[in-house]
Symmetry: none
């Protein structure tokens, strides 16, 4: 009885260790990707940052691209979770919470968001991670859908401009995207970044409210912050 674990237990234990290491690889990659030029992050560096051998990395991921796309997926999933929470709040009566939740989830770690943009750009036509990229797009579109219903409601309430719902969402996405890029762009020597991001977020929150589209002159005080 003593000092003897069942075969099942041992397997489970092994699996846990294995998964933990997988996560370690991903985290190591993330740290490196954020802290230095993407193109300089090699599998070798990732392995040593993770404290394991290079060969071991390939026990977990078939190719380097799989590690990278994994980071993309993890991020998009984390947004999905935050968004779900935001949507609940929105349904509880705070319509502005929708885009606010979105912006905040993306600007929470701008460097990560930007990294994912870059990775997407580099991997978009990689030929060894088709399924994962499909999954990535699927999740993104699920954000769109989820927000879509709330947005539709806001449109029918006359709060948001009456254009196809995904226009609103995509505009949000675009502004967030640009804000992130702005945050890190070295061409602008931005000093008061937080304050600027606050301004942009406020724009994002009211962006697309009725009266701003086409006529652009009929202003009305915003109903919900």
């Amino acid at each position: 009885m003593v000092g003897k674990t069942s075969s099942t237990d041992r397997i489970r234990e092994k699996k846990k260790v294995f998964l933990a290491r997988e996560q370690k690889i991903v985290s190591a990659a993330l740290e490196l990707l954020i802290s230095e030029n993407i193109d300089r992050v090699t599998v070798s560096k990732i392995a040593s940052q993770a404290g394991i051998g290079k060969g071991t990395v390939y026990k977990h991921f078939l190719t380097k691209n799989e590690i990278l796309v994994r980071i993309m997926l993890d991020y998009e999933k984390s947004i999905a979770r935050r968004l779900a929470a935001g949507l609940e709040k929105a349904e509880a009566g705070d319509p502005g919470a929708v885009s606010k939740a979105y912006f905040e989830s993306r600007l929470a770690r701008p460097e990560l968001d930007r990294l994912v943009q870059k990775l997407e750009d580099r991997l978009i036509d990689a030929d060894d991670i088709g399924p994962q990229l499909a999954e990535f797009s699927r999740i993104r579109r699920s954000h769109e859908e989820a927000l879509g219903t709330v947005i539709s409601k806001l449109i029918s309430q006359g709060i948001l401009e009456d254009v196809p719902p995904h226009y609103h969402y995509l505009s949000c996405w675009a502004l967030a995207q640009g804000a992130v890029e702005l945050y890190f762009n070295k061409s602008w020597g931005i000093e008061d970044a937080s304050s600027l991001m606050g301004f942009i977020t406020s724009i994002g929150v009211t962006m697309g409210n009725r009266g701003q589209y086409h006529q652009a002159g009929d202003k009305k005080p915003k109903s919900a912050g």
Copy 2:
């Protein structure tokens, strides 16, 4: 008198041909960079595309990066020209023309705008094109300045929200940046792109107008979440 060209003429002719070839290299690079993954564009391919030998490229550019940064500079200069025109109009009494001009100049060739973003990202810490990158930043900041005066006027007229003028410009930049990214992003299977861009432009035009920005001080994104 006929059929005899002076030595000066011939030299001038040669220079023209030479410069034309330089432009051809840039164009070839541009075509390739836009049509396939940046990382797959090699000097060899550029030369082929331009119909010249690999070595010839190096008669015109010291390094590959110089070709790329040249594309960046050409683009930023072209925006400068468009912007100048837009500013004249704005001073002629059309205040909305400011951001409109900016958006239009950036969305005129979104694929190019996006390319320049990507190039900037890749070249920003290259060590062989310091002066060119400095020039790039300089031009960008000149856009900011140029718009700044107009924006200040709009603020004093109570049309734009009273925040530091560069907030307005940078917000514009961010939205445009994101819009461009959106335009080409393969994750969204966008079909009615031009209509969507129109919507976003309209947002950009009124973005930051007074009455839309409140309480923005109570929530600030932090860079490390």
Copy 3:
């Protein structure tokens, strides 16, 4: 107990193999450098000669220059060892043994000595091996110092001409240097090389003895003639 090696043993074994391969690369490079024009020795050829892949070379050396400078260092160190032995003998009462030891250690493998000269010439202003070159100079100067004390003694005994001690050493160096060059120089079709080298060595041994240096102050070569 048998047929089972500990992990430590295996690691040690691997390291040995690894170092052996490093030596193999150096040897391969050496063979090529001696047997053909230096400029024709490429990393590719070295790899082939060593029976390994090109990439493997870079597991052992950061750059090609590091291989070359390694050869230089190995050689200079081997001279240091021989010299140490020679100095002991000299202190045991054989004053001529000093320069003899020096000449013999340099003429033992004249082709190698010559190679090192050439490498030095090519690498002297390489920018990727600064530390190694410093080490190289350091070892050389340690030869000078070591011989210096013995030479000083010979001067005080009135055996060697009373000039700064390093004059004697450097003269030795120069003659050895020239002898080596001579040995391999294809312009002279030297046939009785070893006899000739014996003659030169004998000159080196007595070179600078008192009574041979006079009036040397009245004619000085200028660096720019």
Copy 4:
């Protein structure tokens, strides 16, 4: 009669200009080769240093190597001239003048002598300048021969050690070679170079005098400086 030169004159004039330019190319190459790393001297640089076009260089020399070997030949010929003068003096009764002349002619412009060594090393197995290299060797051997007769006489007079005459000459060559190398070697931070060269020259002048070879103990005052 006026303003009209005969065809022969014009051809002669052209030839003069042509030869002058040829010399200019060689001089330009020489300047560059001495002032910077040999491997960095390109045909392009030579042309612009000479103030002519690159293509023109190839009207004078079939290959780059031909320029380089030309420098070698020019140098060896200039030594031949100096040596001839020295020999006359020697025959006029100053036996020590022989090696002195040799040393002085080589140390007059040490940087040039060293350059020629380097060039020789690089070109020795070039396949496009066979005849020139043969000529180079021929001149060198003529030095040997010329000195040989004088040396033989000194041997028969009992002044020089009785070894094959070319031993003496080649020893001279070797010491001069080494001295030149020493002069420029960066490993030794030599400060009192002129004085050191003087010392070495004095050694060279008496080197191989009788009594120094084999027995190395039987010293006798030098008879002629």
